[in-house]
Symmetry: C2
Subunit: 114 residues, 2 copies
Amino acid sequence: MKKADHTECLSAMLPVRDALDVISGKWKLMILISISSGNHRFREIERSIPKINSKVLAKELKDLEEHTLIKRTVYDESPVIVEYITTPYAASLGKVIKELRDWGVNHRKKIIGK
Amino acid sequence: MKKADHTECLSAMLPVRDALDVISGKWKLMILISISSGNHRFREIERSIPKINSKVLAKELKDLEEHTLIKRTVYDESPVIVEYITTPYAASLGKVIKELRDWGVNHRKKIIGK
DNA sequence: GTAAGCAGTTACCTAAAGGTAAGCAGTAAC
DNA sequence: GTTACTGCTTACCTTTAGGTAACTGCTTAC
């Protein structure tokens, strides 16, 4: 039983909270995964994620762009093409996503095993 | 540019979603961090987490217990003592929390640096 | 000329998460 | 005997996340 160090405890909690503020919610990581798996167009992303709708997708894409996790580029050919790509900064989330995925796989096993 | 593999993409997204279902939200990880930092009593945990309130804490503790991430023990001394401890299963979240924390620290630096 | 695809937007609604404030039963301290 | 601590619960309210459905302007395909 460790001694409760209030300062140390806070210094662990606050960054975790910061991270969750950016990535939690039902869709953000799924969108990042979809884009980095090769889906770059709005409708492509939409179709790749079950049950998402265009309003939510549009909003989440804006959020992700504000956090500089994705980049939106408009190619002014006719017809206009809009492309979403992940930024190098998004790659820094790779480990986070990997650990979440591994844990999720294991957790599902545990629950089904019951 | 990778080719979009729908199946592979889904098999990455769904476990991540499963994991987030368990740990996302404003308080769950903070509570786990608090308990594993040595806060084991209800009021102790409450005081260690800024801005949380007892209604929310009580509810989140129940959720965490249902997911077998913490264990609640009542010691029937007088006065009754209630103790919360993390389970070995919660330890499996260690890497997830570490990566979230590291990313959060870095993200904060990046934002302040702007 | 009508249908269908593109990248969204708009108005409206529901459900869930979270917050506020008060209170309760028990104990113990002053 | 009043105050304060424990571990909660209750009723009520607000805020936000997310969902539905329709519709826009533009383009190309049949």
